[in-house]
C-alpha cells in the first residue's frame, strides 16, 4: 500500500511535465495572438515585433518552455499580460483559489448530505411518489445548465422576492453563498442521488442480502450494515472527481454571481487570451485531479477489503 502511494507520487512530476508541455504549446500555437490582444487591432508591426521580443515570444518553443518550467519550479508562473497586466499569475490565482475551494466544497457537501439520503429513500421506497419526484429532480439537476438556473434563481429570489443578495462574496458563512451554492450544488446532489439509488437497488438484490434476511436481521441492520456500505463504495469515484474539481472553479457560476474565484479569473483570462494565467490554471487543475485520483485509490483500499494494491 505504502509502496503503491509512493509510486504514484513519483509519477506525478512526469505527468505534470507532459500536461504542462501540451498546455504551453497550445498557448503558443493556439489561435489568436496575445500581443495583438495587448495592443489592439490597429497596432503597427514594428511594435508588435518589439513586444514579442520583450516577452520572449520569438524564441523557439522548447527554449520558452524550458524557461517556463525553470521559473515555475521557483513558484514564478509569469505575469498576467491582459487581465491584470503585470501582476504575477501566482498571486492572482492564490487570491481566487481559496474562494473557489470554499464555494465548491459547499456544493460537494450538499451533494453528499442531500443527494445520498435522497437516493437511499428513493431506493427503499421504490416506485412511490417520493421515488418519482426524486427521479424528476435528478433529471433536472443534471440537465439544467447553470447559465439557465442562475439567472432564473436570481430573478426569482433576488429581484422578485428580494430574499438573497444577487452576488458578490462575503466569505463562506454569509447569505451571498446561498444562491451560487444551490446553482453549483444541483449537479452533485442529482448525481449522488441517482448513483446511490441505482447502487442500493442493485445491492438489495444481491445474494448476501438474502443471506442477511435469512439470518433474521431486522431491515435497519440489513440496510445499514449489509447493503449501504456496498452501495456507497462506488460513490467514492464520483466524490473523488468532485474533489478534483474543487480548484477548477466554476467558470459560469462565478462569473454570473461576480464571485472573485479562479473560475471567474479563468473566464476572463480565456476571453482575453491571457495565456500565462490559462497555463497555470490548467496545471493546477491537472495536479488537483491527479491527487484526487490518488486519494480515491487510497480510500478504496481502506473501505473495500477486496482491494489491496501491490
Amino acid at each position: 500500500m505504502f509502496r503503491y502511494i509512493v509510486n504514484r507520487v513519483l509519477w506525478l512530476p512526469v505527468l505534470l511535465l507532459i500536461i504542462s508541455f501540451i498546455t504551453f504549446a497550445l498557448g503558443v500555437y493556439g489561435p489568436g495572438d496575445p500581443v495583438q490582444q495587448l495592443l489592439g487591432q490597429r497596432s503597427d508591426p514594428e511594435t508588435v515585433a518589439r513586444i514579442r521580443r520583450e516577452l520572449g515570444l520569438d524564441r523557439p518553443l522548447l527554449v520558452q518552455y524550458a524557461d517556463y518550467v525553470g521559473r515555475a519550479l521557483r513558484g514564478d508562473f509569469g505575469e498576467s499580460i491582459t487581465v491584470a497586466r503585470g501582476q504575477p499569475v501566482a498571486k492572482l490565482i492564490a487570491r481566487g483559489l481559496w474562494v473557489s475551494i470554499q464555494l465548491n466544497a459547499v456544493a460537494v457537501a450538499l451533494g453528499v448530505v442531500v443527494g445520498v439520503p435522497l437516493g437511499v429513500l428513493a431506493a427503499i421506497r421504490r416506485n412511490t411518489l417520493l421515488d418519482y419526484v426524486t427521479t424528476a429532480g435528478v433529471v433536472m439537476g443534471i440537465s439544467l445548465p447553470s447559465f439557465l438556473t442562475a439567472p432564473i434563481l436570481l430573478w426569482l429570489l433576488s429581484y422578485k422576492v428580494r430574499l438573497l443578495p444577487p452576488g458578490g462574496w462575503d466569505g463562506l458563512f454569509s447569505r451571498s453563498v446561498i444562491l451560487p451554492a444551490i446553482v453549483l450544488g444541483a449537479g452533485p446532489v442529482a448525481v449522488f442521488a441517482r448513483q446511490t439509488r441505482a447502487n442500493l437497488i442493485e445491492v438489495l438484490d444481491q445474494d448476501y442480502v438474502r443471506t442477511a434476511r435469512a439470518k433474521g436481521l431486522p431491515e435497519v441492520l440489513i440496510l445499514g450494515r449489509h447493503a449501504l456500505r456496498n452501495a456507497l463504495i462506488p460513490l467514492i469515484t464520483i466524490f473523488g472527481l468532485m474533489l478534483g474539481g474543487l480548484v477548477t472553479g466554476a467558470f459560469i457560476t462565478e462569473t454570473i454571481f461576480g464571485i472573485p474565484g479562479i473560475g471567474r479569473l479563468g473566464f476572463r483570462a480565456f476571453s482575453a487570451r491571457d495565456y500565462p494565467i490559462l497555463t497555470a490554471l490548467t496545471l493546477l487543475i491537472a495536479v488537483s485531479y491527479t491527487l484526487a485520483n490518488l486519494l480515491v485509490d487510497v480510500l478504496y483500499a481502506f473501505v473495500d477489503p477486496r482491494i489491496r494494491y501491490e
Binding site: 445474494d207 433474521g216 456496498n230 473495500d304 477489503p305
Partner: protein
C-alpha cells in the same frame, strides 16, 4: 417421531409484466424432527421458491404466497407477524444457499457475519459470540479458525466459503436447516466433502434438514425421504430407497435413467428426458408432465392427477403409475442387448 414442519397446499405466484407465474402449485409435505428430506427437481420446478416461501423470503412484489399453511413447531408461519418471523429465521430455521461466492457479504469479515446472528438471537455479548464463532468454524473444519475468523470472504476458496455458510447456519442450533443446492456451485470432490460434513453435523446436533438438489444421485446416502417436484407440484414422495428401487412417476423414472451408474457391468446409454418443462405462466391443463411423458394416455392431457398412495409411505401423482422397477429392468436389459 414428532412432526416439525408441515407444509399444506402451498401456493406461490409471481405477478410479472408477462403474466402470472405459477411457481408453486399446491405443494404439501412434512418433515419430522431430525429427519432429512430431499427435494429434487430440475431448474424452475419450484424447489427454491417453495423453501423461500417457508422462510417468507420471496421478493414481494412481484412474488406472493397466495394459499396454504406452513406449520412449524405448532405455529403457522404464514400467519405470524414479521417480527416473530425474524425470530424464526436464522434461529429456529436456518438456510444455506447455492452460491457461496455471492452469498457472503464481501465487505464484512467472517466474524462479523457469524456473530451478528448469535448476538441477535441468543443475546450473547461480543466476546461470547466470537468464541462461539471460532468453535463453529472449527466444527465445520476450517483450519486455523482463530486467525481465519478475521478474514474476508474473498480470502476463502469456494468450498471453504460454503463451510463458513454452514457454520453461520448452525450458529443458533436451528431445528431445521434448509440447504438450497449448497453443492451445485462446487467441484465434485468438494461436493462430497460438504455432504459428509452436513451428515456428521446433523447426527451431532440432531437437526432436521431439507436438502434441495437437481441431482437425484446426491441424495442416496443423505436423505430419509425424497419428494420429486415438477412444474411447481409434488409428483412423487417416498422413502429414499423406494424412489431409487421402485419409482412410480414417469418423471422420476426419467430422472433415474439419466443418472450414470457405476455398478452396471457395461456402461448404459443415458436416456435424457426429451422436451422442456411447461411454461409456468400459461400453466397447462392436465398433467404438466404429459407432453414429455412416454406413458401418457388421453386422460393425462385433460385432468391433472392428484397425489395418490401407492405404498405405505409412497405417493405418486400419475394416472398411469407405471411400475418403475419393471420399467427400469426392461430398459437396462434393452440397453445391454444393443
Amino acid at each position: 417421531m414428532a412432526r416439525l414442519l408441515d407444509v399444506r397446499n402451498l401456493e406461490t405466484r409471481f405477478y410479472t409484466q408477462d403474466g402470472v407465474v405459477h411457481a408453486v402449485n399446491g405443494v404439501s409435505f412434512h418433515v419430522d424432527e431430525g429427519e432429512t428430506l430431499g427435494i429434487v427437481g430440475e431448474s424452475g420446478s419450484g424447489k427454491s421458491v417453495t423453501v423461500l416461501s417457508i422462510m417468507r423470503l420471496i421478493p414481494s412484489p412481484p412474488g406472493k404466497i397466495t394459499n396454504g399453511e406452513v406449520i412449524f413447531e405448532g405455529r403457522d408461519l404464514l400467519k405470524i407477524d414479521e417480527e416473530e418471523m425474524r425470530e424464526v429465521r436464522g434461529n429456529r430455521i436456518a438456510m444455506i444457499f447455492q452460491d457461496p461466492m455471492t452469498s457472503l457479504n464481501p465487505v464484512l469479515t467472517i466474524e462479523q457475519q457469524i456473530t451478528e446472528a448469535l448476538e441477535l438471537h441468543l443475546g450473547m455479548n461480543h466476546q461470547q459470540a466470537r468464541r462461539r464463532a471460532i468453535e463453529l468454524l472449527k466444527m465445520v473444519g476450517i483450519p486455523a479458525a482463530e486467525q481465519r475468523i478475521d478474514n474476508y470472504p474473498h480470502q476463502f476458496s469456494g468450498g471453504m466459503r460454503q463451510r463458513v455458510m454452514i457454520a453461520m447456519g448452525l450458529a443458533c442450533n436451528p431445528r431445521l436447516l434448509i440447504a438450497d443446492e449448497p453443492t451445485t456451485a462446487l467441484d465434485v470432490t468438494i461436493q462430497a466433502q460438504i455432504v459428509e460434513l452436513v451428515k456428521r453435523l446433523r447426527d451431532e446436533i440432531g437437526m432436521a434438514i431439507i436438502w434441495i438438489t437437481h441431482d437425484l444421485s446426491l441424495l442416496a446416502g443423505l436423505a430419509d425421504r425424497i419428494i420429486v417436484m415438477y412444474a411447481g407440484q409434488v409428483v412423487e414422495s417416498a422413502p429414499t430407497a423406494d424412489i431409487y428401487r421402485n419409482p412410480r412417476h414417469p418423471y422420476t423414472i426419467g430422472l433415474l435413467q439419466s443418472i450414470p451408474r457405476l455398478d452396471e457391468k457395461r456402461r448404459e446409454r443415458l436416456a435424457p428426458i426429451e422436451g422442456l418443462p411447461p411454461d409456468l405462466i400459461d400453466y397447462p391443463q392436465g398433467c404438466p408432465f404429459a407432453p414429455r411423458c412416454r406413458f401418457a394416455v388421453e386422460r393425462c392431457f385433460e385432468e391433472d392427477p392428484p397425489l395418490e398412495k401407492v405404498g405405505p409411505e409412497h405417493e405418486a401423482a400419475c394416472w398411469v403409475k407405471p411400475v418403475g422397477q419393471e420399467v427400469l429392468a426392461a430398459w437396462r436389459a434393452a440397453v445391454l442387448e444393443s
